[in-house]
Symmetry: C2
Subunit: 342 residues, 2 copies
């Protein structure tokens, strides 16, 4: 009898994660929340501790042929800090583990760690440990971040309520277009190594891809303005996918407006140049590491004049579905294409 | 001008880690200890939190051709819990990240997680998060463990004092001999796939390699006996290497006795069969995940009758060096060969 073999691709990334999480039992009352949000939550008295971890693999999450090591070190920390931001928490400590193949020199490792250290300084976190080992198969980076927030101020994906206002920070789709540009220039270079990459006019979008910044500035400003979002998530897999997470976990629907979606001019122009629909890039482009959150209507005044917070729609009842109102005033159903690595 | 290129092998694993840690600055007063021990230590009021992380890579830390996935999942958790034990702390939560290549089926992932879940139950820890991603290059497992201990009861590598008694748990060298056996049987199988591996008579040593158990039992017993070791480390790189860590960080010397070193009969017999010196296996064999600790002389009575704690020597002044007294009563200098992955 042949053993059953189910391919991971049959489940997909989210399906596999759901499948693995089915069997998890929580044993400690101090574990307030395990898997299922941007970070886990532990009870530490007056504060809760939030914990998140990311595993970054060469050839899957980054391409060494166009990724400067210093930027990669910074980004590896930033994407983890972004998960802590998404809990409305402040990062405090990180562990940094790396697997290095022998094609790495000490100078290359130093460049990687220069980026890690710059990010640790930028986000005011302590590097408290890690593991350094050789790798037979490319660069591996695993970072775990610990953060803290006053108990009751932590924000989950599950708190959005009907009529809340949906906010997105910064602009979206840029990191995806940066990736497109970098991939194209790589192909040009591989076809003819004498060709130099043309990146000047794409500086903003390539910067979005190579060196994203977690929006801790927004978390500090929300605190100063005394606004606690009702739900929050960071935009790592694309706006539509993150909206779906909030809808699923809050049991709500959403209505967003195409003409409210924030897009940078360079992102827009690059998308057109590449024959892509700019709005699709905004909805499904990954790795922007902006924040998506919902606020009560009464908090609108406090954020109304914020130059970098955009009000893209509102929360609805679950049965109203997940809709985008286009510029021609048609309501279309949102699709979460997400960011699939499998 | 050519850029300088320094090979990692010039520094070695410990050299590279020291080099990278030179630039680390701690910013938060709640970070009591960062890198440099089995785990980091954070101030959480009446308790301290300890954190450790390990990165395990296929082809470096494990060989899929003879490692059952369920054992691998268990071991990945156990080696992390062992670091928490070495701080005299109790593990509470873990995060588990895995990178999976597409040759993995869902059934294979389930087997890996069956081991992870069995270990979570065995060590009474909650799985609170992780990251699941595809890998272009073999299986990657990254685990971070969080533990807790009453403030003041945490045990560092740095507290050993002259005349303290040196204790080692269990027996040593078995995991190394298990690895030798498994590697030999793999070669036999590769030369002639019709040959079946002969593992029955090596069940103990192969078990030590494939499914080690962190000594949380000892930590609970020390607590019950009201013994707080003066220093402690887990034996992952070999007894000699761990003794060197304690000597360096405590500023002391050691004198151990060959005839006191704990070795199992099967380990001894396998070493002889392989033409290896059994005592070298005990001193330099890695991955036993036993505990090495020092106690004050006044605590000796409490542990004297413990069947699984062995008194292998005593701490001396730094200038007396690191010595082993052989069975022929000669004092020889210890060498820390350690376990080099680079």
């Amino acid at each position: 009898m042949k053993e059953k073999r189910t391919e991971i691709s049959e489940l997909g990334e989210f399906g596999l994660i759901d499948h693995l999480n089915e069997n998890i039992k929580l044993r400690h009352p101090s574990t307030i929340k395990g898997v299922g949000d941007d970070a886990a939550i532990l009870d530490k008295g007056d504060f809760v501790q939030v914990i998140s971890t990311d595993l970054l693999l060469e050839g899957v999450h980054f391409d060494m042929s166009y990724t400067p090591l210093q930027h990669l070190g910074f980004k590896a920390v930033a994407v983890n800090v972004s998960d802590i931001a998404a809990m409305n928490a402040i990062p405090k400590q990180i562990t940094v583990s790396v697997g290095l193949s022998n094609r790495f020199s000490v100078e290359a490792v130093d460049a990687l760690y220069a980026g890690v250290n710059a990010a640790a300084e930028h986000y005011n976190v302590d590097i408290i440990g890690g593991d350094t080992t050789s790798s037979r198969a490319g660069l591996v980076i695993s970072i775990t971040v610990l953060g803290e927030v006053e108990k009751g101020k932590e924000v989950l994906r599950s708190g959005a309520k009907d009529k809340d206002i949906i906010c997105a920070t910064g602009d979206l789709g840029g990191a995806l277009m940066g990736l497109q540009v970098l991939e194209r220039e790589k192909e040009v270079f591989m076809a003819d190594p004498k060709m130099q990459p043309q990146l000047e006019k794409y500086a903003y979008v390539t910067g979005r891809q190579l060196r994203p910044d977690a929006r801790m500035d927004i978390i500090h400003e929300l605190r100063d303005l005394n606004v606690v979002p009702t739900s929050m998530i960071d935009i790592s897999d694309g706006l539509a996918s993150e909206l779906f997470h909030i809808c699923k976990q809050s049991g709500v629907g959403v209505r967003i407006y195409e003409d409210k979606l924030p897009i940078d001019k360079q992102t827009y122009d690059s998308a057109v140049e590449f024959g892509l629909d700019p709005i699709t890039c905004v909805l499904n482009g990954g790795e922007d590491y902006e924040l998506l959150f919902t606020i009560k209507q009464e908090d609108f005044d406090k954020l109304e004049k914020h130059p970098d917070v955009h009000f893209i729609g509102h929360v609805t009842k679950s049965e109203e579905g997940k809709l985008m109102v286009t510029k021609s005033q048609t309501a279309v159903e949102l699709k979460a294409q997400g960011w699939k690595h499998f």
